[in-house]
Symmetry: C2
Subunit: 343 residues, 2 copies
Amino acid sequence: MPITLRDVANRAGVSAMTVSRVINGRAGVDAETQRKVEDAIEALDYVPNRVARGLISQKTATLGLIVPDVVNPFFSPVVRGAETTARKAGYRLLLCNSEGDLRLEREYIDDLVSHRVEGLLIAPASDNSRHSVFPLLRRGFPVVLIDRALPDLDCDLIVSDSATGARRLVEHLIAVGHREIAHVTDAEDTSTGRERLRGYRDALEAAGIPYRSEYVLRTTVDRIGGYRATQQVLSLDPLPTAIFAVNNMTVVGAMQALRERNMIVPKDMALACFDDVEHLAVLSPFLTVIDQPAETFGSLGAQLLLERISGKAGPRTRRIVLQTDLIVRASCGSKEGALPHRV
Amino acid sequence: MPITLRDVANRAGVSAMTVSRVINGRAGVDAETQRKVEDAIEALDYVPNRVARGLISQKTATLGLIVPDVVNPFFSPVVRGAETTARKAGYRLLLCNSEGDLRLEREYIDDLVSHRVEGLLIAPASDNSRHSVFPLLRRGFPVVLIDRALPDLDCDLIVSDSATGARRLVEHLIAVGHREIAHVTDAEDTSTGRERLRGYRDALEAAGIPYRSEYVLRTTVDRIGGYRATQQVLSLDPLPTAIFAVNNMTVVGAMQALRERNMIVPKDMALACFDDVEHLAVLSPFLTVIDQPAETFGSLGAQLLLERISGKAGPRTRRIVLQTDLIVRASCGSKEGALPHRV
DNA sequence: ATATTGTCTGTTATCGATAACAATGTGTAA
DNA sequence: TTACACATTGTTATCGATAACAGACAATAT
């Protein structure tokens, strides 16, 4: 149905090859001929078929991006960053939401490869994503991992310094007087979870506070998970005075659970987490957080990927660690203000 | 470099056509042969090339989605909804952020057509997007518009009932005692802006409050725009007691401007807007808003588009109007509580 | 035994664009 | 005038898969 290069050639009275030359701006076309072709293109409203071009050139000008969920305010800037960088390089982005589900993630990977994306940007669901990613790497397929590392996988990677971030956040909690600090985190199958737990433990240890495994609650890192884990926190004895939530979704669930019990933050319970959220930061600058440069994950990730695709990257894989910021607001209380107290 | 169907055929000792038959599960292949082919596919880790398949079948199994910005908490659920629905139908989504820029939007449209997406889901930048969309429609290219209608364009469409929503929101403001209500909105070049303004005027009129054009501030519908417009609001005389912001981005800017002047909401100024934001709704249930079913825009939009692509849609275009919810929280004050007072 | 039906598999052409090469014509040098 | 360089344009084959048709062979019917 759509106009093809041949249609243009017929109308201009030249061969398909000549039209192709004009389109690709190649030298060796008579000025007069070029005009005729351009007129025909204009008249027919011709748009070249990238699918056909992709078949012969083996280049589709598309990248695949797999994130757990675009709606997560951490990932949406990642997506935008990647898309913007891709666009500037003439690439388009196929977006996939894995929902943190390994099977779905695997399905997406296979399908994107089948669609012949030139490279893949993946925020992996968990360590087990390793089994889906490894075969790609073996074949030399361009892949960049973002947010989470995968064990024993030599792959371009962008993460943030979760351990240091977590440590600083917990140090802050300790500095304002907390000693019983619960940590709501994931099933220990993500690098981010492990690193943040490490930062948590390091901070406790540095302050001489004994580590209690019952203060670490394992859950799914979404709103429901945060909610349930916080309910468990609230049944602990002694009751913690602070909760460190592993990300922006769990903290929402945590808040929900606290509100149900009519607990006030930070008076009855301090709350801190990873990830700043723009709307919250302005409309309700309340949560003390570790802010990650989310958009950079996407833009830099796309850049690394494009470099690898174009062969500019060299054989060594790159491992980029982005620094985080501690943003202190009201949700952890302060020494001067009302110290958290037990009920 | 990747394995082709021919490689599989060679290894299995059959023709390419036979392999194709096995892959597509067509009848008429000997069980023994089928096994040989399947073994070869397995051994070579073969993945069919959808680009080649797309060329012959004229079907790429991809949809294009253009939104102003995925990071906008209204649009990210739209994207997820569309992606999920597309996936379930075996389609992938090419995501584009137009940044509300007409030129960029045009570029994206052309490029997506060139990539041979089977249909296009567009949240248009403004009325002027009409000129980019119309040529598609003329060619019979499947398009579904979401969020904003385009004038004189007969096209499948999903919008929400902005006028009624705005009217209810402003009626609420009036009910709790406000009479000087400013409205921060866009340059009158979007259907949503016009509808919301209409709802605003209707509510005023119904309450016998005269409409004042100087209370309607035109700006870009982003954070900066909301900020600047609110600064203007604050220099009005008489000073309004309430601001109705046209969407979730402008309200952020508005809040910023109010905070700079140390104004407390709702004591010094009431604030209301379109769009609820999950994180805010839970962590800081404060803003009174009109909530739109964002994810439905995406999922239903994708569904309409898929129906049109598959020819199940019939020649008539469909115009779907989704209903909105008024969610009353604290940001507008109340009759019983502290009424807004002038400084 | 021959025709007929059906099962299974291979061949050729095609989707739309392009790489590689071939052909045509023009102008200039010997 | 003949030869050769150069500019311009066309032809053929190809990317990977598949539609449409053709061929080979076995089983059944007449």
